[in-house]
Amino acid sequence: MLSTIRLFVSLTVSFFILAAGAWAASTLSSHAAAENTNVSAGLTLQVTDIRNDKGKIIVLVFDDAAAFQSDDVNKAVAYQEVNAAQGTLEIDFANLTEGPYAVSLFHDENGDYDFNMVDGYPLEGYGISGASGPLDEPDFQKAAVTLGTVTIRVFYLDS
């Protein structure tokens, strides 16, 4: 009898420890402040394969096909420039609410805010949502992503 009560109390304590631990872990996030208000809202980009820390990663988000085709910053629904960091960079667009969106980005290594090309050949790294490789130029339909986390790889053709 006593051992049964003891077992019950021990199990209850264990469940409290589990709940408290999981709750504590849920607050330990690199962007806790942004996420606390609305957990599922927003678009998060995992930009991978950035080759160095030079310059910035410039990201344009479009919500319609024509704007996406033009790649014009004035027609983008969201824009961000983030200091480049070698490897993977997480970029949050917490205020995007619906979608679908298409994302295009480039690594502005020389900091001139321009995607540098020579004879149509890119000198800086670039990435497009939904692209299967460096030579893939998906249309809006194929590039479209919804909210959540999306991984975009940066390709460099000059290296």
Partner: protein, 301 residues
């Protein structure tokens, strides 16, 4: 403190897990060499001990085949199934992985206690306890169904919101930590360490068949769970390793299946449905009443 909260890519975690696992396995062989020399110096080295050691690795091979080939798929499927019920949104970073390891250790405590106190689970865990010796090769002595029970006890962590791969990582870290506890070479460690952590001394007690050592020290990494929940025993008198009812065999087939043959015999022997159920779900020391006696309920423990 930024490094604590930097998201960790899951492949990196899985690579680290494989790396630790492999190295501990390789180094455990080197350590076994040291232990064998020690046995020889103490004149305790004999064929039975060597046979037992080899059989430990044979059970391990069987366990690996069953776990990684048969159970592995089911394991991950079950884990990803539970993920849809996640209560919290938990990012994977050093801080949350550390919390997950502590919680996985608590889950392990209950799983381990369950496998000692419920006969059908004991039927497989008894394999690990059936060696009359205590050296690092015993750490790899596993029963055929040892991979089944962890699923049930770690599922709550996934429902709580930890990523299935992080939970698996934590489980394996808890398991790997225990590998290095299976030795007589290391005496007692400094007091604060012995207070919080599971140590070779605490784990020797767990493998004891002495009456006061039975069903004690279930903890994986931390011994504080046993202190909290009343299952702690300190190593005092010399430990007699193995089962209360020894198997007296180094035959890997006998080692692997003795738990199930014993369970089957007990169930077959038990009269009536109620006793049969109790033979399966009751504690290992419970014996069914003799056939034909009118006593339906055994006296309470």
């Amino acid at each position: 403190m930024d490094f604590l909260l930097t998201p960790i890519p899951l492949p990196q975690l899985t690579d680290f897990e494989t790396w630790v696992n492999d190295w501990v396995f390789v180094l455990s062989f080197a350590f076994l060499g040291v232990e064998l020399v020690r046995y020889a110096v103490q004149k305790r080295l004999n064929w039975s001990l060597l046979g037992d050691t080899i059989s430990n690795y044979i059970t391990f091979a069987g366990f690996i085949v069953l776990n990684y080939i048969v159970l592995g798929v089911f394991y991950l499927a079950a884990y990803f199934y539970f993920q849809q019920f996640a209560l919290f949104d938990i990012e994977t970073n050093l801080a949350t992985v550390a919390i997950c390891i502590v919680l996985a250790d608590l889950a392990y405590y209950w799983e381990h206690r369950f496998t000692h106190r419920v006969n059908v689970a004991w039927a497989t865990h008894t394999v690990h306890h059936s060696s009359p010796h205590f050296n690092i090769s015993v750490a790899n002595r596993f029963g055929p169904m040892d991979g089944v029970w962890p699923i049930f006890f770690h599922a709550p962590l996934i429902v709580a919101g930890f990523d299935p791969l992080v939970v698996l990582f934590a489980e394996i870290m808890v398991q790997t930590y225990q590998t290095i506890l299976h030795t007589e070479v290391i005496g007692k460690l400094p007091r604060p360490f012995e207070f919080f952590f599971n140590t070779p001394s605490h784990h020797r007690v767990h493998h004891g068949s002495n009456a006061q050592y039975l069903d004690k020290n279930y903890g994986g990494v931390f011994i504080i769970w046993d202190r909290m929940f009343g299952t702690f025993a300190k190593e005092e008198e010399p430990v007699v390793y193995g089962l209360v009812r020894p198997i007296n065999s180094v035959n890997p087939v006998v080692i692997w299946f003795h738990g199930f043959t014993r369970l089957g015999a007990k169930v077959a022997h038990a009269p009536g449905l109620f006793s049969k159920l109790r033979a399966i779900l009751g504690p290992p020391e419970w014996e069914p009443p003799e056939r034909g006696t009118r006593q339906r309920f055994a006296p309470a423990e």
